[in-house]
Symmetry: C2
Subunit: 167 residues, 2 copies
Amino acid sequence: MLAPRDKLIEDFGLFFEQYGMPRIFGRMYGLLLVTDAPHLSLEQIANELNISKASASTMARQLQAMYIVEKSTVPGDRRDYYRAADGHHIKTVQMKLNASLALSALIQRGARLEGLSPPTRKRLKSMEHFYNRVAVLIDNFFENYREPEEVEHEAPPARRTKPSRSR
Amino acid sequence: MLAPRDKLIEDFGLFFEQYGMPRIFGRMYGLLLVTDAPHLSLEQIANELNISKASASTMARQLQAMYIVEKSTVPGDRRDYYRAADGHHIKTVQMKLNASLALSALIQRGARLEGLSPPTRKRLKSMEHFYNRVAVLIDNFFENYREPEEVEHEAPPARRTKPSRSR
DNA sequence: CATTTCGTTCAGTATTGACTGAACGAAATG
DNA sequence: CATTTCGTTCAGTCAATACTGAACGAAATG
């Protein structure tokens, strides 16, 4: 059986694979999240994940381009090291927001098409409205979000249990 | 040159392709969004998008599984019709929320690993906290979201212009 | 019961994309 | 200037997946 830590790394791989990313993308991310070392060299990563140095190099650059990971160096050492970027999770959600806005823009283009029937136009407008509201919401959230002073045993957020809202 | 409507459908294809979905997935979605018809048959879809009936069938089922599209029928007609599901955009965002929660769960597992150094554990905890806060936020939003009475010329949401927050 | 008209399934193809090993260039080191 | 040690690039392989056409089954219709 796999050690819990290695199992977790595999699950990171599977999770991101679900969303269209390469499996080793998730594995590398997971590894950098749970490692105690301040950063890992390309070779360490390649060894730990049993992947080629070439793959490690490529993935590291991809993760970096997404602001999830950052390069770090040590004086007198020619190697590149990588670590999970500070606050990368925040940036990640922000980028999802941007994707929503891009989709919203597409929908807006739809709403502006000539010759649409009023109901169709209305539906597109209402979708556009929704996405804009979400955008504002997230935006405000980031405006106000602060790190908590000390994170205790955090209770998982209480989810509404299926609204069953009267309709 | 492509008609604006067809160009838009192509752009839907490209957009979703960007996020790992099949291109015709986005095209079909786009088509169903901008069509004035109350719904389209598999054959109409296949013809309009120049894809095989087999592809149309498969994609329609996939879109349906994601609650984006729904089947509809007419009495005395054996054909299946499809249309953009009412409120599908809301469900879509909700599913993204669930994905965030799943990731949060993975991170939580990380935070619970044995033998982690305090800084590592703290970082994971703080990420977990962040994702939980986002979850609550979105959840509350859905709790309160209502369709606007009449959607006017909607002004695009004012984004903060790069915080440039003092640090 | 033969025929038509649907949708789905299935085998096959073609394209994409993940991943590798080896070659390469750049920088240090002796 | 030869050697070592990095990272990246590139050609190539292998697996996954998008898509098709044809076959099929189910339901209607005559």
